[in-house]
Symmetry: C2
Subunit: 152 residues, 2 copies
């Protein structure tokens, strides 16, 4: 599928805040932040990045596509694990530099590559003045070694 191109954002802040043209503001790396929640219960599942192509393909196909900064390439979420994200609603914020996807997750109903439902499975708190992590959710929906093999 040929992804469409977005119009350039207005320089006028108040125009960016209105209804009308969706003119996403990509950063100097050409990326925009995407927040992903479960369409059913609102759980925060992941945060990722999109370039213009990934965002256009997401809107056109209804399946979440991202841009992997570490691998430097476009990525259909779930192409390996089967945990495809079907987009039920897309929102953007006041200055159009972030995207919110409400999704239904197929496959194992898991989003994190560690096998957990959400990537945000740890809490941060101060212990003896030091910032420490504790695991809040350790339930695995799938075995990452089985699904990804030797891949990270």
């Amino acid at each position: 599928m040929m992804p469409f191109a977005f119009n350039a954002p207005s320089e006028d802040k108040s125009e960016l805040e209105d209804a009308g043209d969706f003119t996403p503001r990509f950063d100097d790396r050409g990326l925009i932040t995407a927040i992903v929640t479960d369409a059913h219960d609102g759980e925060l599942l992941m945060v990722a990045h999109m370039n213009a192509k990934a965002l256009a393909l997401t809107i056109q196909t209804g399946k979440a596509h991202y841009f992997s900064r570490s691998r430097g390439k476009l990525w259909l979420k779930g192409e390996t694990s089967g945990n495809i994200q079907t987009v039920k609603e897309i929102r953007t914020d006041c200055d159009q530099d972030a995207i919110w996807l409400k999704v239904e997750v197929a496959g194992h109903d898991a989003t994190c590559h560690t096998g957990r439902r959400s990537c945000f499975y740890r809490t941060v708190s101060l212990e003896d003045g030091k910032p420490m992590l504790a695991i809040a959710d350790d339930e695995r929906q799938f075995d990452p070694h089985e699904v990804y093999g030797k891949q990270p």
Copy 2:
């Protein structure tokens, strides 16, 4: 208050995914993405950025601090509007490059500078093949002109 310093993140991906030291991974601009939801009903309120100082102060004081990329400075959310965010829980994701804050919002119970509860007040959809915005929430909790005066 003197903000503490974070330890450097491990090069070992599996160490980053465990419990233990919180070692946030700031990007090449020294920033990390922060996702902010309402501690009571889970509504996505805003996305912002933090430098190490903003993140340390947020953890130490329990009040959300951010780094404004447009103004190039540290920012206590609500210092002008009164809509201070009290942090009830902090989480991080699998590779420690994003932060999730669950907050209670004081003042007008509004987060967006337009006066709305959430910055994500618009939906994105295709109309005649073009990506368009529609306003899903137009309820203002405060009058931005009254609160910010001539400031944006």
